[in-house]
Amino acid sequence: MNLANLKPGEHGKITKMGAMGPLKRRLMDMGVLVGEKVKVEKIAPLGDPIEVTIKNYNLSLRKKEAEGIEVEVVK
């Protein structure tokens, strides 16, 4: 299960950061860390990117980038 699989309104908890290199560092710098809770807010009208809430702010990222972020669904 990765972040791109979550539907709008669903919550998840990050279990693993798969992406490597600058992308991973960038995500981590913005608070996307293992153990963090995320909520998918919206999918853009054209289907990509997605908007999530993490650490209490809104972040948008592409599905391709979200695919590298493993999550487990939280109720």
Binding site: D29, K42, A44, P45, L46, D48, Y57, N58, L61
Partner: protein, 749 residues
């Protein structure tokens, strides 16, 4: 927190002067770096303190270069340095590198860390890294008003204790807390030693590794420990920061490996991730300690708006409608004022100049230079000042409100398909105002590939300077469809940008496309004052251009049109001859006359000059007809009443735009379109079809000289400009050809 008066902290030039005159009182100059997350209000804060007009906007990545502001406070000169916003001090983006190079190498006396109070944890992650530098820090806890509104309670005293730095709540937009902030800054410089920030503890395993690395540096590379903050350098080496590694270039790196091996093993991660985790752990712990949030979270305005604006079905229509509305309003609100300026320069100003020159017994050719060259040339361009200011006003509003970032979000998919980034959308949108700042704004993009590709496409965004040309032609041929025709040109530019983007992606820019990670800021209502200031700052460039080199070019064009001496007919002048040479190339496009060709040649310098040149070529004969000369008082009275009329028309247009029933209403627009000489002449020379082909050509045919210079500056080579020039010429010709020939086939000619 108390409100403080503007005057307290404005630029006090008088004070400065007296200090200089009196050398006994030694003035200290201290350098204060202003650092923080993107969109935390750094530039707004500096503007509030120093009275500067730095560029601000409600989206991350506005400031891309460091800028400084100098002012004086209680006998101390303070130099505030605005740094680009960063989330971290990693070596991956140009902005981060600019910010950290400044902090590490220029060693400012104090860092003011602007922290967004509504977003504590993520902001404190940067704070933690700033503290590693060992430079005294003051925290400006900004956007405090929004935090309070959300019901957040922040214990600043506890924060101060844990971090060992002063924490001052501020509201930069309302100039609140500035005095306290300045006091905190000067306190530090009066007693530096007492204000060394605390060393934050990242956990015993990391701390023991870092102290090993620190020792090694001191023993084997002592010169480095003088150049860099020791703790910071040790961390950077442990993280294998590519930028630092390159800078210091040490041969034997095995000690780093040794010091970090057990860490990597224990965490099963690379060092960068371990450090990011450790720093966030500190930031999170701190946040837990000092921040109390209300139990229930209200649905906020931003959420409500986004529900509609980013809606799956409504998102795109809303985006397109918003753009359309901007153009419609721009045109409607400004048109009456443009017409007014037009009437003034063609009437009273011209007459006065003639009278004055007549008194001075100036030779006939100087009178012609002054009236036909300068007044007509600059006048034709000045007519568009209202349009351009209106456009800048709306762009400023979009930027200030927070919609810009949403536009990037909505458009990313489309952008991505041409190998771009949703964020490329921002420079491209700015390109509608002026391509020049847009080229500079490509710095928001993280990778050089995006920058280059975006810059190549920016000239297809129809800038404000092209509006004058459209306005004249639309005024002559399409008065019933003003908004629609104008809109079609902008949309065409966008569509062609998509097409070219796809072509470039497959040819010049093969390879991976970049990441899209962007914060969506909350919506904010820009204050009227700041709207005015930033509209002015943007529009000003156009005025300066009109005053300086459009003036120079008008004179040049006049000479080209009147040389060799004594030419009977404009056609035989130098410019006319150039036009005649080029005209056959343009013939298949429907405007193969020398007049159009000559105007296009002069437009290579700046597109608005096309109109000025047309004015010089076409109009003189027509203008000489009204011979009845009013008196000066009559002139002045007429200026006043017609200006009042313009205000009324503008307001009426504004109302009719919002009274949706009359969106394409003919009455209101037709009334205000008085006959102007140039429009009349153009009506005789073009047909609606050739007119449309012509304005399309103007839209596409090349970036102006100033853009060329900007591209050269950004990339350090003429290569990208060369490519832009070449493909645009071809594109312009092909598209105009298709429109004209296609139109004829359909029987529109």
């Amino acid at each position: 927190m108390r409100t403080q008066k503007n005057a307290d902290c404005g630029l006090r030039i008088a004070d400065l002067k007296s200090e200089i005159a009196n050398p006994k009182s030694e003035i200290k100059t201290i350098t204060v770096a202003v650092a923080g997350n993107p969109n935390s209000g750094k530039s707004t804060l500096i503007n509030a303190i120093a009275g500067t007009r730095l560029y601000v906007g409600n989206w991350p990545g506005v400031t891309v270069e460091k800028k400084s502001a100098l002012f004086e406070y209680e006998g101390t000169n303070i130099k505030l340095v605005d740094l680009p916003g960063t989330y971290s001090l990693s070596p991956y983006t140009q902005e981060e590198i600019i910010a950290r190079d400044y902090l590490v190498h220029e060693k400012p006396d104090v860092i003011v860390n602007v922290v967004d109070a509504t977003n504590l944890e993520r902001n404190l992650y940067l704070t933690v890294q700033l503290l590693e530098l060992g430079i005294p820090v003051v925290i400006a806890l900004n956007i405090y008003d929004e935090a309070e509104k959300k019901g957040y309670k922040i214990d600043t005293k506890a924060m101060e204790k844990i971090l060992g730095v002063e924490v001052i709540p501020t509201v930069a937009t309302k100039k609140m807390g500035l005095d306290n902030l300045l006091k905190a800054i000067t306190n530090i410089t009066n007693s530096v030693s007492m204000h060394r920030p605390k060393k934050l503890n990242y956990g015993s395993d990391i701390e023991s590794s870092v102290s090993i690395v620190e020792k090694q540096i001191q023993n084997s590379y002592s010169q480095l420990s003088e150049k860099y903050p020791l703790r910071w350098l040790a961390f950077k080496l442990m993280e294998r920061d590519s930028h630092v590694m390159e800078e210091i270039n040490i041969e034997n790196q095995s000690f780093i490996e040794e010091a970090t091996r057990h860490l990597k093993k224990a965490h099963g991660e690379d060092m960068e991730s371990i450090m990011a985790d450790a720093r966030y752990a500190v930031a999170a712990g701190l946040t837990r300690e000092v921040l109390k949030k209300p139990e229930f979270k209200k649905m906020e305005l931003t959420e409500k708006i986004d529900k509609i604006v980013l809606n799956r079905f409504l998102g795109i229509p809303i985006f397109l409608a918003a753009m359309w509305l901007v153009f419609k309003l721009t045109f409607d609100v400004s048109a009456p004022f443009g017409d007014w300026i037009d009437a003034m320069t063609a009437g009273p100003f011209r007459r006065w100049a003639e009278v004055i020159l007549g008194f001075a017994h100036a030779p006939a050719w100087t009178a012609s230079l002054a009236t036909d060259g300068i007044i007509a040339g600059v006048g034709f361009v000045l007519v568009f000042v209202p349009v351009i200011f209106a456009m800048m006003f709306f762009i400023t509003f979009l930027e200030g409100s927070g919609y810009m970032a949403r536009a990037a979000f909505v458009m990313d998919r489309a952008m991505h398909s041409m190998g771009l980034h949703g964020k490329s959308f921002i420079p491209m949108l700015l390109g509608f105002g002026c391509n020049v700042p847009a080229v500079y704004a490509t710095r928001v993009l993280e990778n050089p590939r995006d920058k280059a590709l975006t810059s190549l496409l920016i000239p297809l965004m129809s800038c404000g300077a092209r509006l004058p040309v459209y306005v004249v032609f639309i005024g002559a041929f399409f008065t019933a469809y003003v908004g629609t025709v104008l809109w079609s040109l902008y949309v065409m530019g966008i569509a062609l940008a998509v097409l070219m983007g796809i072509i470039f992606k497959r040819t010049l820019f093969k390879g991976e496309s970049p990441m899209f990670i962007m914060e969506l800021p909350p919506y904010r209502m820009p204050s009227f004052r700041s709207l005015m200031i930033h509209t002015w700052e943007k529009g000003k460039h156009f005025l300066i251009k009109a005053g300086t080199y459009i003036l120079a070019v008008s004179i040049l064009v006049w000479f080209l049109l009147n040389l060799p001496w004594g030419v009977e007919h404009k056609k035989d002048s130098y410019l006319g001859k150039m036009g005649q040479v080029i005209a056959p190339v343009l013939a298949p496009l429907g405007f193969g006359n020398w007049e159009a060709a000559s105007s296009l040649v002069s437009g290579l310098i700046a597109k608005e000059i096309v109109v000025g040149t047309m004015g010089e070529i076409y109009v003189q004969k027509a203008a000489d007809e009204n011979k009845e000369t009013p008196t000066l008082t009559e002139d002045l009275k007429e200026m006043g009443t017609s200006f009042a009329g313009a205000v009324k028309d503008s307001a009426a247009n504004l109302i009719s735009t919002f009274g949706m029933a009359s969106l394409s209403s003919k009455e209101s627009t037709e009334e205000t379109k008085e006959r102007t000489p140039l429009r009349d002449v153009i009506k005789g020379q073009f047909t609606p079809l050739t007119a449309y082909a012509f304005i399309t050509f103007v839209l596409l045919y090349m970036p102006c000289i100033v853009v060329a210079i900007a591209m050269r500056q950004e990339f350090g080579t003429w290569k990208w400009f060369g490519i832009a020039f070449a493909y645009q010429m071809v594109l312009a010709w092909v598209v105009a050809f298709v429109i004209y020939q296609g139109g004829r086939l359909l029987g529109l000619g």
